[in-house]
């Protein structure tokens, strides 16, 4: 009789022992798959939370303070000078979801009267222009100081589009879809009054009102007309180019970069600082990961705790598995002695024991996989049911895929199974070796 048939007879006839080994392996596999599922979930959840929070850094111009010959303090403000080529280099370092370059300027319009500010005159009847790629990412919209109430935000593909404040729209009876013509302007001061430093108008841009926003804060101090928040026009980047106040592909305001995972912010900034195409004597980087930094420790602790728990569960499971299998094999000493006395080789006896344990282990793991998948699905619905929608709402691009937190890949499940098979085989071999070292006579004398 060959060892495979003997293994089959043992597994099928010793139902109690077989069931015990089956259940032991089954629960060990379910625990391991579920444990690694929770670890996976904690990692993915941390990632999704980080992604939903996001982080940003911006490149700005340095401002210098000096004292002139008259002893007066002078503020030396440099301009940002970042080219599209440099922006492309930065985007290529990876992990950056989008870039929002901003140019600043002023504009007047024959068809638009701006909300009068301090020292208002016909000459200073102008508004400031913030030209950008994504208006929704502008600081006022991001921190809810401003809120779009009609129309759409400006996006990368828009040309000749502007957003104006509700009050400015009402003041000029403008609504979404109306067209106005803007011309260039530059706010200056002369004899204590505000003037336009570009008296002769040569550049014009016909723009469409794409959206109207409401301001949730009011200017606290008197400001000139062009300085009032309600006179701020958000425009697509091409508008200031047409007004000759900026050049295509050159950004002079600031350039904001948004990254998916705040954990990668430091690395991204380090890479950007290494770029030689940016003059770091006149530029600096400002990072913004305030929201992430508030919960970073919590997320790290969650991951650490989960790992410790999993290690404890795995170690305890492995110890019980090894102990029980060892006891099972040690209980077969009599059988080993009989088989050895019958001339059956030690290798064949070990092969029989291994085949029995591994076949039952493999069967238990198949059942465990099916049960674990169902359990994981239920756990995930209970624990993380509403999270994907919430997190997706908060992500900037709304493209992040959330969910499937506890789902393990085939590779990971295969590795778990491999480890369990290895533990079962190793404990069987180790406990069998203790028997096989004995001479048949010693075994038979022990069993009487």
């Amino acid at each position: 009789m060959n060892f495979a048939k003997m293994a089959f007879l043992h597994v099928s006839r010793k139902k109690g022992k077989t069931l015990g080994v089956f259940l032991l392996n089954f629960f060990a596999a379910v625990s391991l798959i579920s444990g690694f599922g929770v670890l996976n979930a904690s990692k993915m959840l941390s990632r999704d939370i980080r992604t939903s929070l996001g982080a940003a850094f911006c490149i700005r111009a340095k401002t210098g303070v000096s004292v002139n010959e008259a002893g007066e303090t002078e503020i030396m403000k440099n301009s940002v000078n970042i080219s599209q080529k440099t922006v492309n280099e930065i985007m290529e370092i990876g992990g950056i979801s989008c870039c929002n370059p901003i140019n600043y300027g002023f504009a007047k319009s024959g068809g638009v009267s701006f909300i009068p500010g301090d020292g208002h005159s016909a000459e200073s009847d102008m508004g400031s222009v913030t030209a950008l790629r994504f208006s929704s990412l502008a600081p006022d919209f991001a921190d809810k100081t401003a809120e779009l109430t009609a129309g759409n935000h400006i996006t990368e593909s828009d040309r000749g589009k502007i957003l104006i404040s509700e009050r400015l729209a009402d003041y000029n009876h403008l609504s979404v879809g109306d067209f106005v013509t803007l011309t260039h302007a530059k706010l200056g001061e002369l004899d204590g009054g505000y003037v336009d430093e570009i008296p002769v108008k040569t550049a014009f841009a016909r723009v469409e009102v794409a959206g109207i926003y409401r301001l949730n804060a009011e200017d606290a101090v008197p400001k000139p007309t062009a300085g009032l928040a309600e006179n701020v026009i958000y425009a697509s980047l091409d508008v200031l180019n047409e007004l000759n106040e900026s050049k295509p592909g050159i950004y002079t305001g600031e350039v904001d970069f948004y990254i998916n995972d705040p954990a990668g912010l430091e690395n991204a900034v380090r890479k950007v600082r290494a770029l030689p195409s940016i003059d770091w004597a006149t530029h600096f980087i400002r990072t913004n990961d305030f929201r992430y930094s508030q919960i970073a420790d919590g997320l790290a602790n969650l991951g650490g705790m989960t790992k410790i728990l999993l290690v404890c569960v795995s170690a305890a499971g492995a110890a019980v598995l090894v102990l029980i299998l060892t006891l099972c094999v040690r209980g077969r000493m009599r059988e080993a002695g009989i088989l050895l006395a019958a001339g059956i080789s030690k290798g064949e006896i070990l092969a029989q024991f291994l085949l029995e344990v591994l076949s039952v282990t493999a069967l238990a793991m198949i059942f465990a996989l099916a049960v674990s998948l169902s359990v994981s699905g239920i756990l995930e619905r209970r624990l993380f049911g509403g999270l994907p929608e919430i997190l997706n709402e908060k992500t900037m691009t709304k493209e992040a895929e959330c969910g499937g937190y506890m789902k393990l890949g085939g590779g990971k499940i295969f590795l778990i199974f491999l480890c369990q098979i290895f533990a079962a085989a190793a404990s069987t071999i180790a406990s069998s070796a203790a028997i096989m070292r004995l001479e048949p006579k010693e075994i038979l004398s022990k069993i009487g």
Partner: protein, 211 residues
């Protein structure tokens, strides 16, 4: 020519306590031998050495004139000898037929029937058989193998008088009919009485003569 021979065999535990001293005995095919003596005199140890369950600390065990250690004790156990134990030593999750098939490719049922087990009994779990039936199964397992020597250690020790006599008769019949050498270690005078030759062990030394 003897099929199995112990030549100047010695055995001691830990090199101190001598169990067997210079034991020599020769066993021939078709004959039945009894080894008897007081408890602890080394009967079972001698049987273990003859069967290759252990190695002597001195001397040789020869099978058909060749030292069994040359081909290995496992080879000797598998091909040359078969054991019958006092406690039967059957595999408890198998039927008599499966126990017999452990060491033999021959159909097990005819031999089991010859030893008095019905077909139904031969397909029942061995633990549900009587002591006599279990010992018959153990004998059937030994007979079914191609081994030329059957080594029986107190084969009737756990059986009542009638069953013991039946088993002894079966063993004697096997030796005659199958031309096998049967060596029985026993305390029983009745069993020793059926032997062609009886050896006495005392103080680690063997005294032999015709039965």
């Amino acid at each position: 020519m003897s099929i199995l021979e112990a030549r100047n065999v010695a055995y001691s535990y830990d090199g101190r306590r001598a169990v067997l001293k210079n034991v020599s005995a020769a066993f021939e095919a078709g004959r039945i031998y009894a080894i008897t003596g007081p408890s602890g005199c080394g009967k079972t140890t001698l049987l273990s050495l003859l069967g290759g369950l252990d190695s002597p600390t001195g001397g040789q065990i020869l099978f058909e004139g060749e030292d069994i250690s040359k081909k290995g004790l496992a080879f000797h156990r598998k091909n040359n000898v078969a054991f019958i134990f006092q406690s039967y030593n059957l595999i408890d999750y198998m039927t008599p037929a499966e126990n017999v098939a452990l060491t033999s490719k021959r159909p097990p049922l005819p031999i089991l029937e010859r030893l008095g087990l019905t077909r139904e009994e031969s397909k029942r779990n061995v633990m549900r058989l009587s002591g006599g039936q279990q010992q018959r199964t153990a004998i059937a397992r030994a007979l079914a193998s191609d081994a030329g020597v059957i080594l029986a250690d107190e084969p009737t020790g756990n059986l009542d008088g009638d069953t013991a006599a039946e088993i002894a008769a079966v063993l004697k019949e096997c030796a005659r009919r199958s031309n096998k050498c049967v060596i029985i270690v026993t305390h029983s005078e009745e069993v020793a009485g059926i032997a062609d030759e009886v050896f006495w062990l005392r103080g680690g030394e063997i005294y032999g003569g015709e039965g």
